[in-house]
Amino acid sequence: MAHDTHADAGDLASFTAEVRAFLDAHAPGGTAREDKAGTFVWGKGDDRMAYFSSDPPEEEQRKLEEARAWQRTRYENGFGWITGPAQYGGRDLTPVHDMVYNAIEAEYDVPDTGVLSVVGLGMIGPTILAHARDEIKDRWLPAMYRGEAIACQLFSEPEAGSDLASVRTRAVRDGDAWVLSGQKVWTSVAHHSRLGLALTRTNPDAPKHKGITAFLVDMTLPGVEVRPLRQMTGGADFNEVFLNEVRVPDDHRLGEVDGGWTVALTTLMNERATVGGDNGGPAAAALTPERLYAVLRASWTLDDRAVRAQAAELLADVMATEHLNTRALRGMRAGVTPGPEMSVAKLMYAQNLTCAAHLVTDVFGPRAIADSGEWGTYAWSELLLATPALRILGGTEEIMKNILAERVLGLPKEPGIDTRSPFRELRRSGTGEGAA
């Protein structure tokens, strides 16, 4: 039943039982958790309300090791790559099985494996599978899904943000290798990564989408330099990656020479699948009615009509966003191809968290801008500072809206010369002329 689009109910029932048996036996935190939201008590426990991690290095390292260990346990028990082919340690099951596994695992207390899975296993793995040579797949895929090789996405550049096809990192052929030079930016987990999927410019005379080549770069090669990028929260979850004449063997090329855009699309398609489902995370607690109620009580605004109206609109959107996910998931289980629900859910997740962070800090007033020591007040400032990122990462809000308008509503693309002209003639930021 390899890669059927959907699974039958009987098959899912036995799979579910198998998943539960595995988690009961192996989940490090023990048995299934009770209702998470129900355990919230104001003033008790950790009041951190962050989207990005702000752990000190030794704590980050400890969590990384836990994540690797848990991924290895999954892999050894047949849950490391549920949709992957058996020859690389996968289970040959469907995306629905994957969702079922994730939904059940969320009930258990297990380490967060986002550092491995969001980019590497969720996006880069499927890209390698689709576009790499067999010996490269043999070498790297099992290592990745065993939790050993973390992978990152060397895509964005200072001059190629939303317009990813404008990458200018050069790759020049030299015998049976390529020499890569350029700068990548906004690279998550690069500092932990063994592998990077790089988009490079191999033909500046072709239109921008037709002169790109993709490479799988061993991040330990000479010339690869990873520098942490400090973002506005003060933490450094992203990196700049400098490629200084890095020699990458030709067998690590993915897809055809100048055919890298097809490779990038495979990655991006999987990104949408990953980010759209992002409704959990450390900040999810910010959106529960219990938490907001407690905040209003602690800020003496339970009787404030304007605040109540904002809270009602926000919580109705939070609930509708959950319904969107529920309905998309239910549809997929029944074999229905999802519509725009996931993209809308991603937009709304960012909007809901942004709205919550502002509402809460506004009602706390000065207690949100200076740490008075009071539990659960200043703590929200960390989430507030992360919210601009939510409207940018994984596709800016503006690009997401273009996609919805063009792909779902069938509105025409903005006319432009950038898809037809040779790349080297396109205008660059800060110049009035052609470049490259």
């Binding site: 609109e313 109705a316 809308v344 919805l404 509503l409």
Partner: protein, 378 residues
Amino acid sequence: MTGITELSESELRELRSSVRDFLEAKSSEEAVRKVIETDLGYDPEVWSQMAEQLRLPGLIIPEEYGGDGFGQVALGAVLEETGRALLCSPFFATVVLGAQALLASGDEEACAAYLPGIADGTTTAALAVSERTGAWDPVQIETRALRRGEGDAGWELTGTKSFVIDGVSADLLLVIARTTAGPSLFAVDRGAAGLTAEPLETLDGTRRMARVRLGGTPARLVGTDGAGGRLMARILDLAVTGLAAEQTGGAELCLESATAYARTRVQFGRQIGSFQAVKHKCADMLVQLELARASAREAAVIADKGDETAFAVAASAAHVCCSRAYMFAAAENIQVHGGIGFTWEHPAHLYFRRAKSSQLLFGGPHAYHERFLERLGF
């Protein structure tokens, strides 16, 4: 709720498409414009056909009372279509409000007396709750019910009801009035003594409203004396769930109209839909529509599962989302159309009017925010 006949996905699709086909033929823009100029406010011919050909008035009425016994999911599918088509019809007042009020009362005798007539399309109904302020608040019910004789039928009502949907045309009035035990539900026949109904001028011509005066009007108690407060809450949950489906259908049509225009209208040498300012308006409308649809349909699913607490939350959340979504879509649709959208000839204003009237029908934003928060324990 138990005993609901469930529809499969394909049966539901079939229901939607048969209702859409019917309404495309019977509730075209031209037909809507014609009917809103009439005194009655709907086409009785079309109402009969809805009953005879599609059996719609009996859709959610249990089989024992002459209906087909479907649930909120099926009703929602129909209401999305009537909302799209701006159908002018007794359907909302008769079925969504009237029939559901009778069913919610649990009064089997009253159900047996009135529901078969509603199911076969011969009886239309209206629900008279709000008074001067338009609020659906048991505390604000001033209309009095006095016992004049023996049994359920021995009551007389005195007071003034306002904002009664289809209050002029309905054959049967279901009235909330105060007894010594508190607010209670009563049934009043159209011809009853001391009953007068006057039409109110309305912002939205597709939904008629009336002021209903009761002066010692004979009435029949429906359900338990004093149970009207609890009943009002239950009826309102069902009413806003139905309304949410209508609003979703209306918002969907506004989005379709705006995108169709944005694809064909050319200015500055390009289709205006290629400009991001216009494109993003349409994307924002789509986001609102998706939220509305998910919240309306999921509230109906939860209602049919019979989880009353979860339904009360989901229904009040859907009312918030769908009211906002429809108003937004109706306003932005006019904006995408520009000058042509502001003309009387263009249908955009009919949707704008309907969107605002739907949003305010059961009290408006303050009321629906508070109802939702109350259900979340705020």
